[in-house]
């Protein structure tokens, strides 16, 4: 999946994460801030990387501002940001692209 433009998902509320993605320089670049970085930094990084891989995104800049989100929330926010950046929207079909519910979105 290709990140075509800058997009964001999530909030800065406690237990949420705000994920911003933008087109990359040919690789995956992560910038992670977290209120629980000392306890979960590596787990957050791994979750974001796994989610990007599952979505087939390999050319992206990702900024995560995490406020103690659980993994399921993090995944959802990364997915949301990537799909918005790739021309998908919540309306299932947008520009002829259908959100892969039950496929890449789990």
């Amino acid at each position: 999946m290709e990140v075509l433009r800058t997009a964001m998902a999530g909030t800065l509320e406690s237990s949420d994460a705000q994920v911003t993605v933008e087109p990359g320089d040919g690789r995956v670049e992560l910038d992670i801030e977290s209120s629980v970085i000392n306890q979960f930094g590596r787990k957050i990084k791994a979750t974001v990387e796994e989610t990007l891989e599952r979505l087939g995104v390999d050319n992206v800049k990702v900024k995560v501002v995490d406020k103690g989100a659980l993994d399921c929330t993090l995944k959802a926010r990364v997915e949301g940001a990537v799909f918005r950046a790739s021309g998908y929207s919540e309306d299932e079909i947008c520009e002829g692209k259908k959100l892969p519910w039950g496929g890449a979105i789990r």
Binding site: S14, S35, I37, N38, F40, G41, K67, L70
Partner: protein
């Protein structure tokens, strides 16, 4: 050296502070010791006035110099102006190397951080710290050690001479010109002056600061003229809106309500729940909710509380008014209702910090508790609690009466939600031990209730109450299944703070935090 809760206390720290490692909650029981005494200047001539015009003048009169220990109380909570007011003047005078010995410090005292950085303040002794002072300590800006003491432990430290106070500054809602101090009747009422009592008795110089000078004699006094050297009148000693908040709305958070219900069910199924029982609780949402639901059952069954103890908030005062509590015994007031109650109700009584919780007097009120309901940032599989350092390793809380009441009560109940955001409140090992697990009996979470294996009697009570009983390890596993297992925090080597057990030994140390390393 590894202490009794398994924490490694570096030899250097033990040597620097001339302290011993924690050896068990009651290890010093029965010990004899000689109390310290202040050096007092007598006031014999009735023509002499105690009134002084300014803080500057009083600091000069008290002979302020480098290296002195200055003390403060925290009854004005986040509305306190006294610490900043005094320290600003100390700073202007260019005095260095001051030790602050406060009953607690909060966000209201963020303005003293630059004085930590420039060496005006080099040591802090407090129940705990919040806000920027905590950050300053955790990032290694304080030259000496921060010593965190419980409320009872602070009294013990002063009375035994572990710390000697050169000048005590006591913010007083009302004072007369001869130094009788009360906590009601002024513009900034705080209800009681319990934690300042020991300062008045043991400091060489005692300075009262008030914004409401009243006619002599201002009695019955919380602190008497016989212990006060000087009286100063300033415009404002605090912000009343932050000293005493209005009534907190009862919580509607279903998690907290569920934990409160578990707590009440447990309490009423123990043999201690009978006429004349004694009880202390905190001011968290779940604690307040459990006090309210317990009150209903007391009314139904005609069971009265003999003693309600501690920091007091409105709900306990309401039980007193309904005749469900015989005596409400008070060391700190959290809201306007509590202040009104102690002002008007003869069965609501002020006691000193020593009476409340000092482990080395001849018997403190905490020893008479049947129940104490506490909160905790973290509880571990050994039932140890942490209430001072957050899960990132930053100093951000206070011991308060946590270890004192836990050590005293027959039944110590800790209420903690299983998760605080992503941070598991039930974990394998707490970041820092403040209250030893041997004094913690029951842990109530929104996912189940765990009983300390040392208390099989209470396990039966929990089962009889039909509570969802789990082992503490099961609770931890449930938490980790949701959050993932947390990485151990990597600290720097330098010890920046000491968690002092209530008996004056070291239960744990706080190390300097360092930036997270990805690899």
């Amino acid at each position: 050296m590894i202490n009794a809760v398994g924490r490694d206390i570096p030899e250097k720290v033990l040597k620097d502070l001339n302290m011993k490692p924690f050896a068990g909650t009651y290890a010093r029981n029965g010990e004899e010791y000689k109390k310290a005494a202040p050096t007092v200047r007598c006031w014999m001539d009735p023509k002499e006035s105690k009134m002084v015009d300014s803080i500057h003048d009083v600091l000069v009169k008290c002979g302020l110099r480098d290296g002195m220990t200055l003390s403060f109380h925290h009854h004005f909570r986040e509305g306190d102006y006294i610490v900043n007011m005094v320290m600003e003047e100390v700073h202007k005078m260019g005095v260095k190397d001051i030790t602050i010995c406060a009953s607690s410090l909060g966000k209201a005292h963020d303005p003293i951080v630059p004085m930590i950085e420039d060496g005006t303040i080099t040591n802090i002794q407090s129940s705990g710290v919040r806000g920027k002072i905590g950050e300053a300590i955790s990032t290694g800006k304080l030259k000496g050690y921060a010593i965190m003491r419980s409320h009872g432990g602070r009294v013990r430290a002063i009375e035994s001479g572990d710390v000697h106070i050169d000048i005590a500054f006591i913010g007083a809602p009302t004072a007369d010109e001869y130094g009788n101090l009360r906590a009601v009747g002024g513009k900034s009422d705080c209800g009681v002056l319990s934690y300042a009592y020991v300062d008045a008795q043991y400091a060489d110089k005692v300075v009262a600061i008030t914004d409401t000078l009243v006619p002599y004699p201002n009695i019955p006094a919380s602190i008497s003229q016989v212990n006060v050297d000087y009286v100063i009148v300033v415009d404002e000693i605090g912000n009343p809106a932050k000293i005493a908040t209005g009534a907190a709305k009862p919580t509607t958070d279903v998690r907290k309500l569920m934990m409160a219900e578990y707590c009440t069910k447990f309490v009423i199924n123990t043999p201690y729940f009978k006429d004349g029982f004694s009880y202390q609780t905190g001011v968290g949402g779940a604690s307040i909710a459990s006090t309210i639901s317990l009150g209903k059952i007391m009314k139904e069954r005609g069971i009265k509380m003999g003693l309600g103890l501690g920091g007091i908030a409105g709900p306990m005062c309401e039980l007193l008014e309904q005749g469900l509590i015989e005596k409400l015994v008070d060391t700190q007031d959290f809201d306007l209702k509590a202040i009104q109650s102690i002002t008007n109700n003869p069965n609501h009584i002020e006691i000193t910090g020593s009476e409340y919780a000092n482990p080395m007097n001849k018997g403190a009120y905490v020893n008479k508790l049947d129940f104490v309901i506490l909160a905790s940032l973290e509880v571990d599989t050994h039932f140890n609690c942490n209430v001072v350092v957050d899960s990132n390793g930053m100093v951000t809380g206070a011991q308060g009466g946590h270890p004192d009441t836990a050590a005293g009560a027959k039944c110590t109940i800790v209420i903690a939600p299983l998760l605080q955001g992503r941070t598991p409140a039930i974990c394998t090992d707490v970041t820092t031990v403040t209250t030893p697990g041997e004094t913690v009996d029951v842990v109530i979470t929104d996912y189940g209730v765990a009983v300390n294996p040392a208390r099989p009697d209470l396990l039966e009570c929990a089962k009889a109450a039909k509570l969802p009983v789990k082992t503490i390890e099961e609770l931890r596993d449930m938490a980790y299944a949701i959050t993932g297992e947390p990485e151990p925090i990597k600290f720097g080597d330098r010890v920046v703070g000491v968690i002092e057990a209530r008996d004056g030994t070291i239960i744990d140390v706080v190390r300097q935090i360092k930036d997270y390393e990805w690899d």
